[in-house]
């Protein structure tokens, strides 16, 4: 309960800090550039946006965790009765903000690209994002020229075979 109260306080503090805006703006810019033209059929384009999602999400989490003034952090720790609830609250806020960034990165191409995106593909993408180190595997659309319609749209994922 204390951790939730700490999280609410940190969130209220973080949304007033301008430095959390920068990572969000950067990811939005990346998404806008990647999906501005015709990126091709999903899930391939996600493989490109996820490359920036990981570092920017880490940046956002660090920014959220360090928004509070160090002396202010002392007051919060004393009020919360220890470092534990404050660390848990910080983690909650960092997770929530990263989740927002991930949802934005998944949903953006679904909305802006004209290709159908069945729920199964979206769920697969979410599952893959939660497991770093395993990029979204190519479906073969680039190699076969399907989806992109052979209009010279770059294929973002590395050839696997």
């Amino acid at each position: 309960m204390t951790a939730v109260a700490v999280a609410r306080y940190l969130l209220a503090d973080a949304v007033r800090a301008q430095r959390v805006v920068l990572p969000v703006v950067l990811q939005v810019a990346v998404l806008a550039v990647l999906f501005g033209g015709d990126p091709g059929r999903l899930p391939e384009p996600w493989g490109a946006s996820v490359l920036t999602l990981y570092p920017i999400a880490a940046w956002l989490a660090l920014t959220v965790a360090h928004t509070e003034d160090p002396v202010q952090r002392d007051v919060t720790v004393a009020a919360a009765g220890g470092v534990g609830p404050v660390a848990a609250g910080t983690l909650l806020v960092a997770l929530a903000s990263d989740l927002g960034l991930a949802v934005l990165s998944v949903v953006w191409p679904v909305i802006v690209t004209p290709y159908p995106a069945p729920p199964s593909i979206v769920l697969t993408a979410c599952w893959r994002i939660s497991r770093p180190g395993r990029p979204v595997r190519r479906s073969g659309c680039c190699a076969r020229g399907r989806g992109s319609g052979g209009r010279g749209v770059p294929c973002w994922s590395a050839p696997s075979s």
């Binding site: 309960m1 204390t2 109260a5 700490v6 609410r8 306080y9 209220a12 503090d13 007033r16 800090a17 003034d69 002396v71 202010q72 952090r73 002392d74 007051v75 919060t76 720790v77 004393a78 009020a79 919360a80 009765g81 220890g82 609830p85």
Partner: protein
């Protein structure tokens, strides 16, 4: 009762700041900790409040709700005063005291970011979060810093009211803590806590020089300590007594030569 048992603290690559502090803190009267600059007062207060860990030793019996005021309450906060107090009280699981901020004479905006507040007003917000949450242990580091005279008197009153049920630990450089009723005075020296005599309150005085026909007789009539030099009567009085004293002296036929700070 909050017990500090064998607390040592040493910062990285530095000399030990605290070298075995044993202390028992109980409600009933504020504990005033004195000590020179850099003697480790703030470090000990942070450990007692629970926002720093000792290198060795432990603190037991700390109540569930603790109020802590750092020695420099940050003035560059983004939340408004009211929202900040509400959040801090929610973290403690209590409700904020709605009238405490006004009682301290807070004059800043309550719904705008605290970054715009003056040092004194920010200090009052810090005091309100520490004292207004019904804490069982209140730790205040230099609480009188930046307060005006009225707010300083209010703080002494609030501490007096709270001391019956609250354990209070406070440091002070302004001399205000010397006037706290029922205070226990300690001194931190060489990393250890020792009992200290209660400091004598600093009473401002006014120096008055009178020219009289018979200075000795006037001195006896006035009934205040003074000395006669070169036929002039030199007196010292507290400011509140100086006007009646001057009035009486003038009625006795003296003329006032000078009045100034002692």
């Amino acid at each position: 009762m909050v017990r500090v048992e064998g607390v040592h603290k040493r910062y990285r690559n530095g000399p030990p700041v605290l070298a075995g502090v044993d202390l028992a803190l109980a409600p009933g009267g504020p504990t005033v900790l004195a000590g020179g600059n850099g003697s480790g007062k703030s470090t000990l207060l942070r450990i007692v409040a629970g926002c720093a860990l000792p290198s060795a030793g432990r603190v037991t019996g700390r109540p569930a709700v603790v109020g802590y005021l750092p020695d420099r309450f940050p003035a560059q906060l983004r939340l408004p005063a009211d929202a900040y107090l509400r959040h801090l009280a929610r973290i403690r699981g209590t409700r904020p005291d709605p009238g405490l901020l006004a009682r301290f004479g807070f004059t800043g905006p309550r719904r705008e970011p605290m970054a715009g507040l003056s040092k004194g007003n920010a200090q009052k917000v810090g005091l309100a979060q520490a004292l207004g949450a019904g804490a069982g242990l209140v730790v205040l580091d230099e609480p009188w810093a930046g307060l005006d005279a009225a707010a300083a008197d209010t703080l002494a009153d609030v501490l007096g009211e709270a001391s019956a049920g609250t354990t209070v630990l406070v440091t002070d450089h302004t001399g205000r803590a010397a006037r706290l009723a029922g205070a226990r005075h300690l001194r931190l020296r060489d990393g250890r806590v020792e009992d200290a005599p209660a400091p004598t309150p600093v009473v401002p005085a006014v120096a008055i020089v009178l020219r009289c026909q018979d200075p000795e007789q006037v001195r006896h009539r006035l009934g205040v300590p003074g000395r006669v030099e070169d036929g002039r009567l030199h007196l010292r009085a507290v400011p509140s007594d100086s006007d009646p004293l001057l009035f009486t002296a003038l009625r006795l036929g003296c003329s006032v030569e000078s009045v100034g700070p002692a």
